[in-house]
């Protein structure tokens, strides 16, 4: 039950592709999950959100804060 409660707080990392300009800062912050493609855009994110495990939530928040284009956000996973 307590595990279920923790899962309910799981966050999704969402990229806004319209804003993303391929600075690549997020990859430095969250290298455990992201890497750069040939143009410098991050692989491992999507516009529909990719789950971030709890142990990486600090790194994910850093990636969001440090994005020069403000293209990343963390959202709570929808219940449905």
């Amino acid at each position: 039950m307590t595990r279920m409660a923790a899962d309910a707080g799981e966050r999704l990392l969402v990229v806004d592709w319209e804003r993303c300009a391929g600075h690549g800062v997020c990859v430095a912050a969250l290298g455990e999950r992201l890497d750069l493609d040939r143009w410098g855009y991050p692989r491992g994110v999507s516009s529909r959100g990719v789950a971030v495990p709890a142990e990486l939530s600090g790194a994910a928040r850093l990636a969001v804060r440090s994005c020069p284009a403000a293209a990343l956000r963390l959202v709570r996973r929808a219940t449905a």
Partner: protein
């Protein structure tokens, strides 16, 4: 002399694509013959007016939402814009939600498709019936019919059609840009909310973005053909037929409605027959699949399942036979460049990726670089971006490489 294959000196026209020059080719925009259900008895070029429509179909039914969902499920209705999402599930997803708007998407960004314009030009009341009864069932106060600016004929004709009805909800006409992605569902909704006609992440089901509108709310957006079939299904009638656009290396490009039990060979015959011995068919439009045009493909029935069995895709029902005397690699180059140009330019992996894909594809097709170069590149394009364009474009181009390999 055929209208499609003139001479080498004259550019070979594909719908929306002319090798060697930009500009419209012979678009499949005319109805070729009376249809069998939605267009039954309708003469090409003839508008079925309100009186004739009422005489044929009777008054507008008013099913509640559960009955409408049942009718859509009974007739196995799916979205006819290309995604083939089951209509009953789309309606059910809006149950209990506030629906602000019903959008009839006739923006037809797919140049190889002409069916939506044909329906709006011939049987607009059937289309409007479907949208209005859906709006009533959902409690939506407003219906918008969205068409693209490259159809001034429809823009001129539809206001009088709307005026001849006395609908219980507000019905408006909206005219948008004619770009490929401008007809994508979220782009249409975004434009109607005062934004640009570019794809957006609006969630499922899509909601009107609150910015630019006083109050948001859910949106039911459906393709023109989907609403016409819904109008038939809601009357308790069978609503199945095959509505397809045929173009490319056929003598008379256009739109035909046939029983779904007929075949791709019948579709080609209805479009005047193939000319110049084509060996390739693009099934499903520019986001579709390239397949070999052979006896197996010709025998496929005009259903989603049969077309998929021969490697094609139904999509929006657009079929383009590639001229047999045109180098397939040249066709591929033009179509790849057109798909790259079709990017809205919003998402890096799409606007940077597709032009590189187009160049690499040409090299692979000529055998100058190995196929793995294409696959490595598209790994950085597929599944990325906020709309389906890059992923669909790559799938189409991959099938083209396969098909060209098969005929070479």
């Amino acid at each position: 002399m055929s209208t499609v294959l003139a001479t080498r000196a004259v550019p070979v026209g594909l719908p929306g694509l002319v090798v060697g020059q930009r500009g419209p080719g012979p678009l499949p925009r005319s109805l070729l013959a009376p249809g069998v259900l939605l267009l039954a008895g309708v003469r090409p070029g003839q508008l079925v007016d309100r009186v004739a429509h009422d005489a044929q179909w009777g008054p507008l039914p008013r099913p509640g939402l559960p009955a409408l969902i049942d009718a859509a499920a009974r007739e196995h209705l799916v979205g006819a814009g290309g995604a083939a999402f089951p209509t009953d599930r789309k309606l059910a997803s809006l149950q209990g939600r506030r629906v602000a708007l019903v959008v009839v998407n006739g923006a037809e960004g797919e140049a190889a498709s002409g069916k939506d314009g044909v329906l709006l030009g011939h049987v607009p009341h059937l289309v409007l019936d479907g949208a209005v009864l859906a709006a009533q069932a959902l409690g939506a106060p407003r219906v918008v019919v969205r068409i693209s600016a490259d159809r001034p004929d429809l823009a001129a004709q539809l206001p009088a059609v709307l005026a001849s009805r006395d609908d219980p909800v507000r019905v408006e006409l909206s005219i948008g840009p004619s770009a490929f992605v401008a007809g994508e569902a979220t782009a249409v909704i975004r434009a109607l909310a005062g934004g640009p006609a570019l794809p957006a992440e609006l969630g499922l089901p899509p909601a009107l973005p609150t910015r630019g509108l006083r109050r948001g709310g859910q949106v039911l957006l459906g393709n023109v053909e989907t609403f016409a079939r819904l109008a038939v299904a809601a009357r308790g009638l069978p609503a199945r037929s095959a509505l397809a656009s045929a173009s490319g290396a056929v003598a008379g490009p256009g739109v035909v409605e046939l029983p779904a039990s007929r075949t791709l060979a019948d579709l080609a015959a209805a479009a005047g027959g193939v000319v110049g011995e084509p060996t390739l068919l693009v099934a499903g439009g520019w986001h579709g699949r390239w397949i070999r045009w052979d006896g197996v493909a010709a025998a496929a029935r005009l259903t989603h399942d049969d077309v998929a069995l021969v490697g094609g895709r139904w999509g929006a029902g657009a079929f383009v036979w590639l001229p047999g005397d045109l180098d397939p690699v040249e066709s591929l180059r033009v179509i790849a460049a057109e798909l790259a140009a079709g990017s809205a330019g919003q998402c890096g992996p799409c606007w940077r990726g597709l032009p590189e894909v187009a160049v690499t594809l040409g090299h692979v097709a000529e055998g100058r670089v190995p196929r793995v170069a294409f696959e490595a590149l598209v790994a950085d394009v597929e599944g990325r971006g906020l709309c389906a364009h890059p992923t669909a474009a790559v799938a189409a181009l991959r099938s083209a490489l396969d098909a060209i390999g098969a005929v070479a």
